[in-house]
């Protein structure tokens, strides 16, 4: 309970590069997701087997949700946003495995994910609308608002990072305090609440990333 939530615990170091627990957990999650996807789609058939059917349902549901948010063809954004969502769900729920800690509860992982979202928003925006048209977004509706628009870019990336980190980390703290105060059965409802928080935060992160990308590329409706 007296562990500093802002510092990461270092497991070992490769040369001058320290490797923390969150990074190792991330590697394990990446390997597990890659393995499951590879096994499921190794022999993709028209008559889908059980695992292939599950993967197809996940992809199609994500595709439908993102299509409703960006209001255009979601396939350019689906690899990024779908991977983000699946990774975040697994990472937030990794606390249910005994001994594992969610990597999103340390500041590095949400910071890296928010940086990816920040860069990909500009990438998709520039590719969809071209340089001048995309940059005109910042002087709209009035050139006086240019500093505010630039500031909004930074603060929304920062809040994307802090929201995920704060929710997951604070839930870990609450759980530690409850375990410290009272024993055996009382933490179970809090753990169930943690599963809900993890899924909702993964959903919110992905939806906000989709909203940012949708605003950058501009909907077909407007």
């Amino acid at each position: 309970m007296d562990a500093n939530p802002l510092a990461s615990d270092i497991l070992f170091s490769v040369g001058p590069l320290p490797i923390g627990r969150a990074v190792v957990t991330t590697w394990v999650i990446m390997a597990a997701l890659t393995l499951v996807s590879w096994i499921g789609m190794r022999r993709a058939e028209v008559q889908a087997g059980p695992l292939q059917a599950v993967l197809e349902i996940v992809v199609e549901t994500t595709e439908k949700q993102i299509r409703e948010i960006v209001r255009r063809d979601p396939w350019p954004f689906l690899p990024l946003l779908g991977t983000l969502f699946i990774f975040l769900v697994v990472a937030n729920l990794s606390a249910v495995v005994p001994g594992a800690k969610p990597p999103t509860g340390h500041i590095e992982t949400p910071a890296a994910l928010a940086a990816i979202v920040f860069l990909s928003v500009h990438y998709f925006g520039l590719r969809a609308r071209g340089g001048v048209d995309y940059l005109k977004r910042y002087i709209r509706p009035n050139p006086l608002l240019l500093p505010l628009n630039v500031l909004a870019e930074i603060t929304r990336t920062f809040s994307l990072m802090v929201r995920l980190f704060g929710n997951i980390m604070s839930h870990e703290f609450v759980l530690a305090i409850v375990v410290f105060l009272a024993g055996l059965l009382l933490p179970i409802p809090f753990m169930l609440l943690g599963i809900m928080i993890g899924i909702i935060q993964a959903y919110i992160f992905t939806v906000l990333a989709a909203v940012f990308i949708g605003a950058a590329v501009g909907g077909e409706s407007d």
């Binding site: 802002l6 409703e68 809040s159 802090v162 704060g166 929710n167 604070s170 909702i200």
Partner: protein, 80 residues
């Protein structure tokens, strides 16, 4: 009072008072969404998606207060 004691008091004040506004705001937002779903149950999907995104936005204010409290407690530049 030393800097450490002031930091602890500051962290407690930041979290407790910083939670009041977002709590009231989230209550209003959920009440309005319930009202809208009761009137138009067919638009529950769109409403709940927008509700979740809006709640995340409101909740960010409380999370900012939590981060300030954690900085005061664990990464205070003025305490030894």
């Amino acid at each position: 009072m030393t800097v450490e004691m002031l930091s602890i008091v500051g962290a407690a004040v930041a979290v407790s008072f910083g939670a009041i506004g977002p709590a009231l705001g989230e209550g209003r937002a959920i009440a309005a969404a319930m009202d809208a779903i009761a009137r138009q149950p067919e638009s529950a999907g769109t409403l709940s998606r927008t509700l979740f995104v809006g709640l995340a936005m409101i909740e960010t204010m409380a999370i900012y207060c939590l981060v300030i409290a954690l900085l005061l407690l664990y990464a205070n530049p003025f305490a030894g």
